[in-house]
C-alpha cells in the first residue's frame, strides 16, 4: 500500500498535467507486477469494490472514537476517508499489504464480514496508507487524473501510440499483465473485447488563409455540432457507446443504445434532440457522468446521434476506404436504420472557400459551433494528423468585463496573480460571471499582476479582491444556463483576449447583454 499511497499523495498535490504524467510514468517504471496494474485500475476507475459505503465507515469509526470528537474533526477536515484515516487510533503492529491483497480481500469478502476486515486493516497501517486504502475501497480517488492521462503515461512508458492502448483497453482487465508485458517489449495482446473502441480521427484548427492554399473541390464540409463526439458500435449484439477518448458511456445513454440495432460502428455527435430541435450543450451535460439515468430525465432530455462517418459495416472494415465512399455507405445505412434517434450530418454546398465562410458566418442553428472540412480521398486514420480533417470554428464571443478577484498561479506563475474572476453589470452591481487564467502574454501578466498588487481592497485567504477598475475583453466559446453559478450562466472556455485600459469600468458589458449569447436563445 505504501508506494500507492505515496503516488496518490504526489498526484493530489501536483497541479500540472505534465508533472502528474511524470509521476505516473515513474510509478509504472518502479512498481512491480501486479501492483502497478492494480494502481492503474484504481486510477482509471476500473476497480469496482462497491460494498464499502460511507455509512460502513461511519459505523466503524463510531466504535473507535467519541462521536463529538469525530464530528469536530470531520467538520475541520471535510473528507470522510481522510478524517477516518487520521483519527484512527492504531492499536496493532504495522503490517503493510500489497494492493493485490487489498483488492482481493475487499472483493472476496462477504458484506457481513467487511467491517471486521477493514477494522483489522486500518489498525495495522499508517495514516497515509489508511487514506489510500479507504480511497481504494470507496472508489473516489479524486486526484485529478483522468483515465486518458493514465493511458497517455502508459503510452509514454511503452513508447507506443496512445491510440493503440485505447483500442485494446476495453478487452483488458486488472492487473493488465499482458499489457505491461507488451509495453516492456513482449508480444502485443490481441484485442479480446467484444465491441472494442476504435481510435477516433480528429481534426486540426484552420482558418481562411490556411484554406486558401488548398483546392475546395478536394473537400466536403459539414456543420460542427456542439455536443460530444462519440462512437456507437454493435459487434455481434454487443452494443457500446464510447467517447472520443474511449470512455464507455453506454450506461448513461440507454435511449441511444436502444437504437444501435445494426451490425457496425458509427462515428458521430451525441446531442440532446427534442423533435427536430437540437438542444444546447448544457442540456447534454445534465446527462453526462451518470451511472444510471431516470425515466424523467430520459423523457425531458432525449439523446440522439448525428452520424459523421462509418467505420465498420456488416463485418466490413471501411476505415481504409476514402471518405467519399464511406460517406455514401453512411448515407445508405442511416436511411436504412430509419430511426429519428440517428440521423445524418448533411454536407454543405460550396464551391469556393468564401462560400463556406459565408455559411459559417450565418449558421442555421445556435448549437452549431463552426464547420468541419474533410478531404474527399482521406482514409480514416486515428489521431490528430494535420492535412485531412479540419475544424473551422465560429469566431469566439466577446464581452468586456471588470476584474473582481485574483488568485496566484503555480509553477512558472508562482508569485504572479494569474487567475482572474471577472464580472459584468447588473442593476448597478458587478456580478461575477467567470474565471480566466490564460490568453495573455508574459508582459501582460506582469501588467495584470502589478494592477492586482496596487489595487487590492480585500483578502480572503489566497484570494484578493481588487478595485473594480480593470476592464478585460473576455473571449469565450459559448454560454450555458447554470444553476450552480450566482449569475445563472456559465461560460465555456473563457480567456482574456485583450486588456482594455482604454475603457472605464462603467462602460463594461451587462448581464442582459451577455445573456443574448445563451445557446438556448430567449
Amino acid at each position: 500500500m505504501q508506494p500507492f499511497a505515496e503516488l496518490l499523495e504526489k498526484l493530489a498535490f501536483t497541479p500540472a498535467r505534465n508533472a502528474k504524467q511524470a509521476h505516473l510514468l515513474h510509478a509504472f517504471l518502479s512498481l512491480p507486477d501486479p501492483e502497478r496494474g492494480f494502481a492503474l485500475a484504481a486510477l482509471t476507475g476500473e476497480l469496482s469494490l462497491r460494498n464499502v459505503t460511507p455509512s460502513l465507515l461511519r459505523g466503524l469509526v463510531a466504535e473507535e472514537t467519541d462521536p463529538e470528537l469525530f464530528r469536530l474533526s470531520y467538520d475541520f477536515v471535510g473528507d470522510l476517508a481522510e478524517t477516518v484515516a487520521l483519527i484512527w487510533p492504531h492499536t496493532e503492529a504495522l503490517q503493510d499489504i500489497s494492493l493485490e491483497t487489498a483488492v482481493s480481500e475487499l472483493s472476496g469478502t462477504a458484506k457481513a464480514q467487511l467491517p471486521a476486515l477493514i477494522r483489522h486493516r486500518l489498525s495495522t497501517m499508517t495514516a497515509t496508507q489508511r487514506y489510500a486504502y479507504l480511497k481504494l475501497a470507496t472508489g473516489g480517488l479524486r486526484v485529478g487524473v483522468s483515465a486518458r492521462l493514465a493511458r497517455t503515461a502508459l503510452a509514454q512508458f511503452g513508447a507506443v501510440d496512445v491510440n493503440e492502448i485505447e483500442e485494446l483497453w476495453h478487452g483488458l482487465s486488472p492487473p493488465y499483465l499482458p499489457l505491461f508485458d507488451w509495453l516492456e517489449g513482449g508480444e502485443k495482446p490481441v484485442s479480446l473485447a467484444a465491441a472494442p473502441f476504435r481510435p477516433v480521427m480528429l481534426s486540426t484548427a484552420t482558418d481562411l488563409d490556411d484554406l486558401s492554399t488548398m483546392d475546395p473541390a478536394d473537400f466536403e464540409a459539414e456543420w460542427k455540432w456542439d455536443g460530444i463526439r462519440i462512437q456507437a458500435t454493435n459487434d455481434a449484439g454487443v452494443r457500446k457507446l464510447y467517447t472520443r477518448t474511449g470512455e464507455d458511456i453506454s450506461a448513461a445513454f440507454p435511449d441511444v443504445i436502444d437504437c444501435v440495432n445494426f451490425n457496425g460502428t458509427l462515428d458521430g455527435e451525441l446531442l440532446i434532440k427534442r423533435g427536430a430541435d437540437v438542444a444546447p450543450f448544457g442540456d447534454l451535460q445534465k446527462r453526462l457522468g451518470r451511472k444510471k439515468v431516470g425515466k424523467a430525465m430520459l423523457e425531458s432530455h432525449p439523446a440522439a446521434l448525428r452520424a459523421y462517418d462509418l467505420l465498420v459495416w456488416n463485418e466490413l472494415d471501411l476505415r481504409q476506404q476514402p471518405f467519399d465512399q464511406r460517406r455514401a455507405a453512411l448515407r445508405e445505412c442511416v436511411a436504412a436504420l430509419d430511426t429519428p434517434r440517428i440521423d445524418l450530418s448533411e454536407t454543405l454546398p460550396f464551391s469556393t472557400w468564401q462560400d463556406l465562410a459565408d455559411l459559417r458566418a450565418t449558421p442555421p442553428d445556435r448549437v452549431i459551433e463552426g464547420v468541419m472540412i474533410k478531404r474527399r480521398n482521406s482514409v480514416y486514420s486515428p489521431g490528430r494528423k494535420r492535412g485531412n480533417w479540419f475544424k473551422w470554428k465560429r469566431d469566439p464571443m466577446l464581452v468586456d468585463a471588470v476584474m473582481l478577484y485574483a488568485q496566484r498561479g503555480h509553477g512558472k506563475r508562482s508569485g504572479f496573480y494569474s487567475d482572474f474572476t471577472f464580472g459584468v453589470w447588473h442593476d448597478d452591481q458587478l456580478v461575477p460571471v467567470g474565471k480566466a487564467y490564460f490568453g495573455f502574454s508574459d508582459a501582460e501578466l506582469k501588467q495584470l499582476d502589478k494592477f492586482v498588487r496596487t489595487n487590492t481592497i480585500n483578502r480572503f485567504g489566497p484570494v484578493r479582491a481588487v478595485k473594480p477598475e480593470m476592464v478585460l475583453e473576455i473571449a469565450f466559446e459559448g454560454l450555458n444556463e447554470s444553476s450552480r453559478h450566482k449569475s445563472g450562466i456559465a461560460m465555456r472556455f473563457p480567456r482574456i483576449s485583450r486588456i482594455r485600459t482604454d475603457k472605464p469600468a462603467k462602460e463594461a458589458g451587462t448581464l442582459s447583454e451577455l445573456k443574448t449569447f445563451l445557446a438556448s436563445g430567449d
Binding site: 493530489a12 498535490f13 501536483t14 470528537l69 469536530l72 475541520f76 477536515v77 487520521l86 487510533p89 508569485g415
Partner: protein, 337 residues
C-alpha cells in the same frame, strides 16, 4: 491549615491578557501594560511597548531584534526562577522556539503553569520541553483535534530532499515562519545531510544570525537576492516566510515547487488551499497525542484552554474526568505554525 488560594485569584483572563492581581502583572498581554511576563518571542505573544518585561534572556534578545532595543522600559532576564510580590515564578523550557518557556505562578498553596505554545518533539533549534507540575495547567489548543498526529520531522525533510533530487531543474521554495520554524527546518536539513548553501529571504537573516550566535549549527546561508540570476536557484532550497510567497519576491525563482513546513499540512484541503505542492508536516506545537499525554503526565486539578480548538480539548477532558474550561482569550493567532 489555611485554605488554598482559588486559582482565579491567582490568574484570570482580562481583555489585555491573563492577569495576576497579586503581582499586578500579565502573561503574554496583547496590548502594552506596565508589567508583562512573556513566554516566547512570537509576535502574538510578545508585543512591544510594555513597562517591565520578565522573560528568558533569549526571548528578550529576540524581542530586541524584532522591535528594536527600546521595545520596553526595563528588561528582567529570568533564569529558571524569580519572585514578584512574594509569588514564586518558575520559567521552564517549552520546546516551542528558541527561548520559549512555560511560566509557573505559585503562591505556596496553589500553582498555575501557563504553557504558552509548546512542543515535545526533539527540536535542534531550541531546548527541549520539560514538565512543570502544577494545580492548573493553562494550555494552547492549536492542534487539539484527534486527527492531528504529526509524524517525526526528519522523514518529512527527507521527503523534501528526494523531491529536490528528482527535479534538479526546479527550485524548492519552503515557507516557514521567521522565528523558530525557519531555523528548525534549516537545522533539520543539516541533520539530514544537506550541506549545500541554503538561500534565505531577508526577513530571516537577523533571526538566523542570532540562532548561530546561540550555538545552533545552520551551515552556510545566503541571501536569496535577484542579482544571483534565475539559474543560480536551480536545484536549490530557498526559505522564506509564507507572507513573502504572495509578494513579488517569489517571482524571481525558476518554476518553483511551493513547500510549506507546518502542522496544518496534515490536512489535504489546508495544503491545497494554500497552493502547496509539497506539504511538510513539521510543527512547533504539540499534536493531539502529545497534548493529551502532557495533561496525563501533569495530572492537574484543572485545565484551562487558551487558543485554538478549545471545544475538542474540553470535550476530551470531560471524557477523562478532568475539570476544564476555555478561557476565550482574544488576540492570539490560532493558525500560526
Amino acid at each position: 491549615m489555611s485554605a488554598a488560594t482559588a486559582p482565579q485569584e491567582l490568574l484570570h483572563p482580562r481583555p489585555e491578557g491573563l492577569y495576576c492581581p497579586i503581582g499586578d502583572f500579565y502573561i503574554d498581554p496583547v496590548v502594552p501594560v506596565a508589567k508583562a511576563l512573556i513566554t516566547h518571542g512570537h509576535a502574538d505573544h510578545a508585543r512591544s511597548g510594555h513597562g517591565t518585561v520578565w522573560a528568558s534572556a533569549q526571548t528578550l534578545d529576540i524581542m530586541a531584534i524584532r522591535y528594536g532595543e527600546a521595545f520596553c522600559e526595563t528588561r528582567v532576564a529570568v533564569d529558571h526562577t524569580t519572585e514578584i510580590a512574594g509569588l514564586k515564578l518558575q520559567f521552564t523550557p517549552a520546546g516551542h522556539v528558541l527561548g520559549s518557556c512555560q511560566i509557573t505562578v505559585d503562591d505556596g498553596s496553589t500553582s498555575i503553569t501557563v504553557s504558552g505554545d509548546y512542543a515535545r518533539v526533539d527540536n535542534p533549534a531550541c531546548a527541549p520541553f520539560e514538565l512543570a507540575p502544577c494545580d492548573v495547567f493553562v494550555t494552547e489548543a492549536t492542534f487539539a483535534l484527534p486527527v492531528f498526529n504529526h509524524p517525526t520531522p526528519l522523514p518529512e525533510i527527507e521527503k523534501l530532499l528526494r523531491s529536490v533530487a528528482a527535479q534538479p531543474d526546479r527550485c524548492h521554495l519552503v515557507g516557514a515562519y521567521a522565528l523558530g520554524k525557519a531555523q528548525r527546518v534549516i537545522a533539520l536539513l543539516r541533520q539530514a545531510g544537506w550541506s549545500a548553501p541554503i538561500y534565505i529571504h531577508g526577513a530571516l537573516q537577523k533571526l538566523c544570525d542570532y540562532h548561530i550566535e546561540q550555538g545552533i549549527d545552520l551551515g552556510e546561508l545566503r541571501p536569496a537576492t535577484v542579482k544571483q540570476g534565475k539559474d543560480a536557484f536551480k536545484g536549490q532550497i530557498i526559505l522564506g516566510p509564507p507572507s513573502a510567497f504572495a509578494a513579488t519576491w517569489a517571482q524571481r525563482f525558476p518554476d518553483p515547487i511551493i513547500c510549506f513546513a507546518s502542522g496544518w499540512m496534515q490536512v489535504r484541503a489546508r495544503a491545497r488551499q494554500r497552493g502547496v505542492e509539497l506539504p511538510l508536516i513539521i510543527s512547533d506545537h504539540v499534536d493531539w497525542s502529545d497534548l493529551t499525554r502532557t495533561i496525563n503526565d501533569l495530572k492537574p486539578k484543572e485545565v484551562w484552554v487558551t487558543h485554538g480548538r478549545e471545544d475538542a480539548l474540553v470535550r476530551w477532558c470531560e471524557l477523562n474526568q478532568i475539570t476544564a474550561k476555555p478561557l476565550r482569550l482574544i488576540g492570539y493567532e490560532e493558525e500560526a505554525d
